[in-house]
């Protein structure tokens, strides 16, 4: 076995000969890297989801049936699919209220499981002629007219290789599949309003009818409203209630308010996460300083021997800094690898469990974040080693050696 160690190999040889100390330092740096990489990525993904949701909400006010406001809010923010509706004549009357710039009707149907497994789809019927909510972002992937019987599928919907979706025993052609939004819309399919009765009939043929036959061609789940300049959504809601005494019982959902509430919940979550990561880093740096400072005392004679053998202060400091940098970089790489293993494969699960908009950042962002975590971990190791350098540089080598005799 080769026992010759050069000054260049010395830092790694020192680490290898003190496995317990090296493992302890590695563990601390690894925890710091996991916290920085994982915490930042989770926060970033939640922020991406929130921005994506804000971009998808084009209406100022949603008018929904009585006792359906909570279901409508869940549809906007989470992945809970549901069916609720009133009749088109109510919708048309609502649209006559003062202060409405644009209004469009949508029909929501919650499907039973699609062709495979426990997947539940939200079927959204919209009117391409009046729509101002879905069309703007569908346009990025689909330009043409959505024909009767055709579908546009959300990102998470399982489209078969022949470009169809098996639903209620029928194959429905899919003309486009949308990009991931990180919201419940990823589990939705979009059809035009004229296809809704077909869908209801198909459901009746193979399972429980999703709505009574007489409602199939006149069911409307929500009237999406964009208010005129100078009006606020609450005023328009009041105007709608004045149209008919029964309208006071309808549900009024303000997507801006839902976004604000979600944003508040998300800000609180990311705030706590940032505070936790910061506290962990503060503790980690203190632990590293303590470990390096303690090792400085115990290693005084070791470094004094190097000085006696002709090594300059700079060389000794270089050995200490390289040891710390090696531990920091290795801990950073292990931490990033563990963080990535814990988050990247499970991003769909995390998104569905959080019930908040969650959109995984792109590969370049992840690589950038990984490099940042590794650089920070290396830097914290090197900075902590300065504590040792100061102590070692202070004393005279021969005195230190004599003290220990």
């Amino acid at each position: 076995m080769d026992t010759h160690v050069t000054l260049r190999d010395l830092p790694l040889a020192n680490l290898a000969r003190k496995p317990l100390r090296t493992t302890a330092l590695l563990a601390v740096v690894t925890v710091l890297a996991v916290a920085l990489f994982g915490g930042t990525m989770l926060g970033m993904n939640l922020g991406n989801g929130m921005r994506s949701m804000e971009r998808r909400l084009g209406a100022d006010l949603m008018v929904v049936p009585q006792n359906s406001a909570n279901q409508a809010e869940a549809l906007l923010t989470g992945s809970n699919s549901s069916t609720f509706y009133f009749t088109r004549d109510i919708a048309r009357k609502v649209e006559r209220a003062d202060g409405i710039a644009q209004a469009t009707e949508q029909t929501y149907i919650s499907s039973l499981a699609a062709a495979c497994c426990e997947e539940k789809l939200q079927i959204i019927g919209y009117d391409p002629a009046t729509d101002f909510v879905i069309a703007p972002w569908v346009a990025s992937q689909f330009q043409g007219e959505l024909e009767d019987g055709q579908m546009v599928a959300g990102a998470n919907v399982n489209v078969s290789t022949d470009g169809t979706i098996e639903l209620y025993g029928r194959s429905w052609p899919v003309v486009a599949q949308l990009a991931n939004t990180g919201t419940g819309l990823d589990n939705s399919v979009f059809i035009n309003q004229r296809t809704v009765p077909d869908m209801v009939e198909a459901s009746a043929a193979v399972s429980k009818r999703v709505m009574p036959e007489e409602y199939a061609d006149k069911a409307v789940s929500t009237v999406m409203i964009k208010v005129k300049d100078g009006y606020d959504p609450q005023t328009v809601a009041t105007n709608i209630k004045r149209l008919d005494t029964r309208f006071a019982d309808l549900g009024y959902v303000y997507p801006g308010g839902v976004t604000a509430a979600t944003k508040t919940a998300l800000d609180a979550l990311t705030g706590y996460m940032a505070a936790f990561v910061a506290a962990l880093w503060a503790m980690g740096v203190i632990v590293l300083l303590a470990v390096f400072a303690a090792s400085a005392n115990e290693r005084k004679r070791e470094f004094a021997s190097l000085r006696i053998m002709g090594a300059t202060r700079g060389m000794v400091n270089g050995v200490i800094a390289k040891e710390a940098a090696a531990v920091g970089a290795a801990g950073g790489v292990i931490g990033v690898a563990l963080g990535a293993l814990g988050i990247l494969p499970f991003s769909a699960l995390i998104g569905s469990r959080l019930q908040l908009p969650y959109l995984q950042a792109g590969p370049w962002t992840v690589i950038g974040l990984a490099l940042l975590a590794i650089v920070c971990s290396t830097a914290v190791g090197v900075v902590s080693s300065f504590a040792v350098m100061g102590r070692i540089s202070r004393g005279d080598a021969d005195i230190i050696l004599k003290e220990g005799r």
């Binding site: 499981a113 399982n158 293993l341 814990g342 769909a348």
Partner: protein, 130 residues
């Protein structure tokens, strides 16, 4: 003794997890009328897990060179484990299905950890003089 534990205990733990997880929390989808790809991936993963666990137990009573060979076998098994739900058999195609959301990532994470620990064990044993 230290090398023996590093080269065998992780295989035992990870093998047990690979065998148990697909039958418990990381199970296949349950809504199939007939068994789908995820069911067969689940069963295969459990079998591979049992083999990895057995290799770990044997490594506990073996010398360094044999342990090195056993860890190389664990690496091969973990690669097979990664290939089963991704290439060889597959899982359901829907992004929100339980098998894709939980089983697939769990098996990937366990497979990668298995490879990392087995490679470390094999490397440590390769440095031991016979």
């Amino acid at each position: 003794m230290k090398n023996k534990l590093i080269a065998s205990v992780p295989s035992i733990v990870i093998g047990a997890l690979i065998a148990i997880a697909p039958q418990t929390f990381a199970h296949a989808c349950t809504g199939h009328g007939m068994f789908g790809a995820c069911h067969w991936s689940q069963q295969t993963a459990t079998g591979i897990g049992v083999v990895i666990l057995a290799l770990g137990v044997i490594a506990l009573f073996s010398g360094p060179k044999t342990r090195m060979g056993l860890n190389i076998a664990v690496i091969a098994d973990c690669l097979l484990l990664l290939a089963v739900p991704t290439i060889l058999i597959g899982v359901c195609p829907g992004a929100m299905m339980h098998c894709r959301m939980v089983m697939l990532p769990t098996l990937i994470v366990l497979g990668v950890l298995g490879i990392a620990f087995a490679a470390t064990g094999a490397w440590l044993d390769s440095r031991t003089r016979a």
